[in-house]
């Protein structure tokens, strides 16, 4: 049985990937030390604990690092399997589904969303918008009438996606879109997730993220 002591999270306040880990830790009620990384000046600890990618989040448990947010969430579920709730379903088929959709967020949502503020020029932005909406509609389809991504319980797939809800306001503003109108089921799912303390107390306010992106764009001379 893993103890709650000696858990350190190397993270960056606005990182959707770091937020996944924070939500998972909150779900399980695990106490940990949060260390904010300056991504322009990474700490020796981060470079030591994630030498391959040098990225956050990194969970350090009893001195050993675990990297990659979806992997960390599953690690948390396994290392603290005696603490409820479970973050993955118990049925192997549904577990496969949960992993698939968590991975889909990485492969598709993240890339498509980033393009909205990274592309320049109206034409490219329109293409990026279309791509993002298509991707979100796939999630909308997966959700269907279910309360959560893979079934009745909040878990890995929801945890993988919910931090990106913080991006919606920014995407709507910069992309001149209305994600909630295009994907009402997804919007309802966001509200449902926000009813959980682990989510509402962890996610930063969408306006803060918008400020952050505007800062970033200013620095790049947009």
């Amino acid at each position: 049985m893993a103890g709650s002591d000696d858990v350190i999270l190397l993270d960056f306040w606005v990182s959707a990937f770091g937020l996944r880990v924070r939500i998972a830790l909150a779900e399980k009620g695990i106490h940990y030390e949060y260390r904010e990384e300056n991504l322009q000046n990474k700490s020796p600890l981060l470079l030591e604990m994630n030498p391959v990618h040098k990225k956050i989040p990194v969970l350090i448990h009893q001195g050993k690092p675990v990297c990659e947010s979806n992997i960390i969430v599953q690690y948390i579920d396994e290392a603290w399997h005696d603490k409820s709730p479970s973050l993955l379903p118990s049925d192997p088929y549904l577990r496969a589904q949960a992993r698939f959709w968590a991975d889909f967020v990485d492969k598709k949502v993240y890339e498509a969303a980033k393009k909205i503020w990274m592309t320049e020029g109206e034409e490219d932005r329109q293409v990026a918008k279309k791509e993002l909406i298509e991707v979100l509609k796939v999630l909308e389809g997966q959700l269907g009438e279910k309360p959560y991504m893979v079934g009745e319980s909040f878990g890995l797939a929801d945890i993988a996606m919910i931090p990106f809800s913080v991006w919606f306001h920014t995407l709507n503003e910069i992309g001149k879109m209305n994600i909630e109108r295009e994907c009402p089921k997804l919007a309802a799912w966001v509200n449902r997730c926000m009813e959980r303390e682990s989510v509402s107390k962890t996610l930063p306010h969408p306006h803060k993220f918008y400020e952050f992106v505007l800062e970033m764009q200013k620095k790049k001379g947009h």
């Binding site: 050993k64 990659e68 599953q74 690690y75 396994e78 192997p92 088929y93 496969a96 698939f100 991975d103």
Partner: protein, 231 residues
């Protein structure tokens, strides 16, 4: 075979991702039906069973909806047949480590091979070859650490990373030949070099990876359908 109703695998022989699933099915002595897919003209079955990515492998188990993505399929098989040749370790940290390196192998290491294929010009290719060599060095370190003096990444028995990396070895040979370099060699990656010979001749894998000719034909097809970048 116990709780197994019927397992079918939709795939194509030159795909290392499909080979992984075949390797695991063999290791676990699971009987299955193999359905051959034509990637140049994707079937209705593929398009409906994996609408999100339209890729092989796809696993069908009884009347459950299909499961795509090789790593997800492997973990699924490991969970429904935990007692026959377990693939992943049981401890959470070991599992996290294995997943981490599988991600690295797929998203960083093997991704370089596609880059190499489509990058025009000698200079561009040399830069990527250098990265592949660096990657193989990292994998050598990982092998030494995880094998802990034993035969495989998984220790005494074939494990997850043996499957994940082992199934790329038909392709690494092709790329070595086409690009005139050695990815694994006696000086830089001695342990991995030994391992490559051992894993390729493993009972459960040796008849799975197609020969060089079949792989070259597939390579030509890919070159035609997804041509390299223009210089």
């Amino acid at each position: 075979m116990g709780k197994n109703t019927e397992i079918k695998l939709l795939g194509t022989p030159p795909s290392p991702f499909v080979n992984r699933v075949q390797f695991v099915l063999n290791l676990k002595s699971i009987e299955y039906e193999y359905i051959d897919e034509n990637l140049a003209c994707k079937s209705e079955l593929l398009l409906t069973s994996n609408p999100v990515y339209k890729k092989v492998p796809v696993l069908f188990h009884g009347n459950k909806p299909p499961i795509p993505e090789s790593l997800i399929i492997i973990e699924y098989l490991d969970e429904i047949y935990p007692d026959i040749h377990p693939i992943l370790p049981s401890d959470p940290l070991g599992r996290a480590d294995n997943h981490f390196w599988a991600n690295y192998i797929d998203n960083k290491f093997f991704a370089l091979f596609e880059e190499l294929r489509i990058t025009p010009g000698k200079e561009g290719k040399e830069a990527i070859k250098k990265q592949i060599i660096e990657g193989s060095g990292l994998l050598e370190e990982t092998f030494v650490k995880l094998s802990n003096g034993k035969t495989y990444f998984g220790g005494d028995n074939v494990g997850y990373l043996d499957v994940v990396l082992g199934c790329f070895l038909g392709w690494t040979k092709i790329f070595e030949k086409l690009n005139e370099f050695n990815i694994f060699d006696e000086v830089r990656t001695p342990k991995l070099l030994e391992w490559t010979n051992r894993i390729r001749s493993h009972e459960s894998l040796k008849d799975v990876i197609p020969g060089s000719e079949a792989l070259m034909n597939f390579y030509m097809m890919v070159m035609k359908h997804k041509p390299p970048r223009v210089a």
